[in-house]
Symmetry: C3
């Protein structure tokens, strides 16, 4: 039993963080100007026009919201005795992360000293939380709740900086967040996992690190909701034709990944049976792998092909790479985030470089510079463009944009790993309680759990 | 064993009610005029315009629909042996309640002797059903299905009258329904619970009134869907900037409530562990507490603060107040609706009075009288306004509007309690079967339940 | 134990099918013209207009997507030891079916040798997958995964042809797909089931063909999501007033069906208890029964009445007809698709014939020929109309349209049965592995399943 005292101080600290958030929100945020009542001089007609306009992104937002809270939360319930933590800590970590992400991401878009809040900030905050939850997947069952929360605080800060660097400064194309969210979250989490690695005799799968029949089924709730709404995740930040292409491509990529997941799951398994781990995870790899390119002209066959490849890589990763990483590098990866998020995201980045380097005005028309803003020619820059800082400047060639895409994934992975190593150092510090080995993958250390007498049978008989 | 005869008559009665509903719908409802084909003389262009227009509220409606049927239904599956009733009776009660709510609410908006139906009526009916399901939560496991249905019939009638009184006649601000739905449903249910209170020796938690490991996880399905879609619930009845503010404020309030729920859950528990009851319920208190004020200019920090306070009150209520109410007043509250709906709604009402009394044209511009219609000055009333009955008349000052907000919650609670006491009297009448004590919190009295031999193990071995 | 070799060849074949799909998509599909970048000469204003326009059908699509993957998938988890297959094979079969449906349905709408893809194709593909999943319901637990996939391939091809025949050539009204999806899927599946019928001594319910307490609850996840989103399914293909009527009618019909399902479930059961099979399925019959008429002027009371009748028929079907079909014709129907989809769809078709035969310009105004396009008078045909092939030509009377509706359901059922018998013949062919009787309704033959020692109890004790 750990001393309760240390916990109390942890919870008090968490409460203080929440109070600090309120203060920061008070001083540095407000509704965006559109959401504040207009001065009475504004014509009533204009006001009326705004009132009538529905929120076109709201259904997309709610789809993503389901992914973050139900999707990630229930996917992680696959461990037989970690379902309270999976669904509950997912909620806690995300609830903290979204508040903090609004602040951290908002730093880069302040107006008059305030972060202007609108639905867009909520979408951005949910997406940022996804990165943290991916990292949590790598560590699942091997940290205290407090360690996860500390990780969330550090990770969101680095995430927001890297997102700003890649999207605003380097102007890379990554509408589905494969680079900035999936690769970042996966390698950040794996780096933390490396820092928390067990000593040699413990570098094996723990006795509780397995599923039960019913936990495998609740995990499928998470999987399927993620599968269903992934097109919304990938298309939320674009509009019009780009958005519809993103939806179609993601839909097809997921379908392709699903078929190959089942095929390879059976082929690599002994007895040629399907493995629930693959079905729960690798079917989703198609959504990640198409993320950075889903708005491009990859055409339907390209979308399916990307998904098919992602499904194969992901299953092979679960079967061969994850055990090897554990035995050779002692990096545990409870949910296999390297296979679901990491490698498919690398794939997506490579494809994005290829497609970018082949993009021409002939194929993309005048949408070329909407998709790749840094490819605007210097002669066509607007006043607004000129005031924006773009690393390397405008006027990129297609080949150069491709090189930037590759550089972006490289830089993101490096930042994620360095950030994760630093975070791991913090999490191991003597001031933070570590889990004992026999507390791993079990709710009981941090949750009141119901006594499991064989009540069902007995009450049935009564 | 109860006599099957009495049940048959109950079911036949229910069938008759359904047939009466058909007749009432036949005589007193029709599609709203917009949904009926136009006379051929209407210009084709106008028709075209209508055809093209999507249904902007439909995604909001579906989010609420998920809350009512999945959210409430699965949240109530937390009892280890009451899941069939929780998910099934939730469906039955709501299916009856929505039909009846369309009729009862429609009484106040008839045109030419007919209730004109559109999507708005379905949204209103779903919200009315929420009040009944909240009351059901207070009673969960201690009534027969027939008692719940009788309660639904009486409660919807009183709900509709009170809603009309508060919103249309008293013109109070309550867009998220904290006053008219949450406070009403909670205190109605608690009053019924008081009438059905056990004798002194039975005023303790029953042996089946607890969760199992898996029932706690299915309950989280309900919790998280409610958490996700609460911004839709609170913002469904407003538009434009008000709607977007309602979304942002509810999102932030829920996030704040979630963090403090975990903090206080651990602090008040022995061994400093998280309690699933708190996580399943108090995390949602932020949605209730912000309900009546979510469209106001409470600003992001205000939204989080309201949620933080609600989370604390709710956890403390579960820990201290619910047991005290049971032991001293013998009021059972199975789901703790006083802590999730009742007290946070009171909080919301108090805040709404404060914010209303501070509202000025300086801050709200010309949206002031959209939000608080009774604050229209008599000189600016339109022809239409003059024909509407408003208690106390137009031209309210901000302070007076604040007083009305307080009066509204007081009146609602009184109406709910009186209505609940009356309903309880009906439910205990000798013509209605009561549950035996040993039938409490168990599906078996009313459901065919599968035999629980240890088949899984044996088939595994085969 | 079956020989693994045969399986490997099956999986390799599946992989080949997926690769063939990629090739076919490469040669015969592309994004629709709207989704391709415009030639630079197109005015920027026009482009801008398209960019701004949100996707009004996207929320409807996502609701249907939830129905297909969560709804069908979890409804089928009711068997106590078939949940991996229910949720997993539902995903696999649907992922294959949607790709193939895009191709097969696209054959009838090619432009310049390409199928133009937009969101509409995804909606159509999801709806086509529903037919296959309904057939799967009839066979649940009695086929290998490979047999299901072969069935999906054949069924989608026939489905697409029949859909084109009924909707485009015969111009029948069936916006909710009761005829083309529900009746087709149900009778196709039952015909396959007849071909795979057991010998006489095995024509009884298998030992594993039952639910457990927890599987009945996970099945309710499927039921309730289907119930919630059915209005979206029925209204996805229409717009404006027709769409809103479809939503209202489906909502009311489901509510009516739910109440009568509970009433009749108790009345026909011994001990007058509710039966989860009825609650999980017959509550949904209202959605099917209103499918073909939900956009018509059936008025609210008509909608409820249709639901009420469907609920009764469906419960009686489960109680009496399904056991009789098994004992007399040896047709197994694991999920009772005849009661949920088959008979309610026949009812819907009959109602559609009645309503069509009574439709006049007086009641429908100029929407009459939008709803029943073949009732356009020859004198009013546009240039475009004249180029379209309509069986029997334009200028149908109301009575004739009614006759066409009846003919449509007859033809659909015949095509489904013949198609199903043929498919069953293929599935029984010696080249395909059949399940042994003792492998029925169990995941273990095709899934790695966790060992079920009494770990929970023991770890609790530790």
């Amino acid at each position: 039993m750990h001393s309760p005292g240390s916990s109390v101080s942890g919870y008090v600290l968490l409460l203080l963080v929440q109070i600090v958030f309120i203060i920061v929100f008070g001083f540095f945020t407000d509704y965006s100007k559109d959401l504040l009542p207009k001065n009475a001089t504004v014509s009533a007609a204009m006001e009326e026009a705004h009132e009538e306009q529905p929120l076109p992104k709201y259904p997309h937002f709610q789809d993503i919201h389901v992914m973050i809270f139900i999707g990630f939360g229930f996917l992680m319930t696959f461990l037989k005795r970690y379902g309270f933590s999976a669904s509950g800590l997912n909620l806690l970590v995300a609830a903290l992360a979204i508040q903090w992400a609004i602040i951290m991401r908002g730093c880069y878009e302040m107006e008059d000293g305030k972060i202007p809040l609108s639905l867009d900030n909520l979408i951005g905050a949910d997406i940022a939380a996804a990165a943290v939850l991916i990292s949590m997947g790598a560590l699942l069952g091997r940290t205290t709740p407090m360690q996860l929360l500390v990780m969330a605080i550090i990770e969101i800060a680095i995430f927001a900086a890297n997102e700003f660097l890649q999207i605003e400064l380097m102007r890379i194309a990554d509408v589905g967040g494969s680079i900035t969210v999936h690769a970042f979250g996966a390698y950040f989490g794996l780096a933390v996992s490396f820092m928390l690695r067990p000593n040699k005799e413990n570098a094996k799968t723990g006795p509780m690190e397995c599923s039960s029949y019913s936990s495998d089924i609740t995990a499928m709730i998470g999987t399927i909701f993620l599968w269903i709404f992934w097109p919304s995740f990938n298309s939320a930040l674009v509009d019009g034709a780009e958005q519809e292409r993103a939806i179609i491509n993601t839909y097809l990529s997921l379908a392709g990944a699903t078929v190959t997941t089942f095929v390879f799951s059976a082929l690599v398994a002994h007895e040629k049976k399907f493995d629930m781990v693959h079905v729960q995870n690798s079917t989703l790899a198609g959504g990640v792998a198409v993320g950075s390119i889903c708005n491009l002209l990859i055409h339907p066959f390209g979308a399916i092909m990307v998904g098919v490849i992602a499904g194969v890589i992901s299953v092979l990763g679960y079967r061969f790479l994850t055990p090897a990483m554990l035995s050779s590098l002692r990096i545990s990866d409870t949910c296999g985030v390297n296979n679901l998020h990491g490698m498919p995201a690398l794939l997506s980045a490579v494809f994005s470089a290829i497609y970018a380097s082949l993009a021409t005005t002939e194929t993309y028309g005048n949408t070329l510079t909407t998709i790749f803003p840094a490819m605007k020619q210097n002669s066509t820059l607007s006043e607004e463009d000129m005031h924006e800082m773009v690393i390397g400047g405008y006027g990129r060639s297609a080949a150069k944009q491709g090189a930037f895409q590759l550089f972006a994934i490289l830089l993101t992975v490096v930042i994620a790993i360095v950030g994760g190593l630093f975070t791991g150092l913090v999490l191991k510090s003597p001031t933070m309680r570590q889990l004992e080995k026999d507390e791993h993958h079990k709710d009981d250390a941090y949750w009141e759990t119901p006594a499991e007498s064989n009540t069902t049978a007995s009450t049935n008989a009564s």
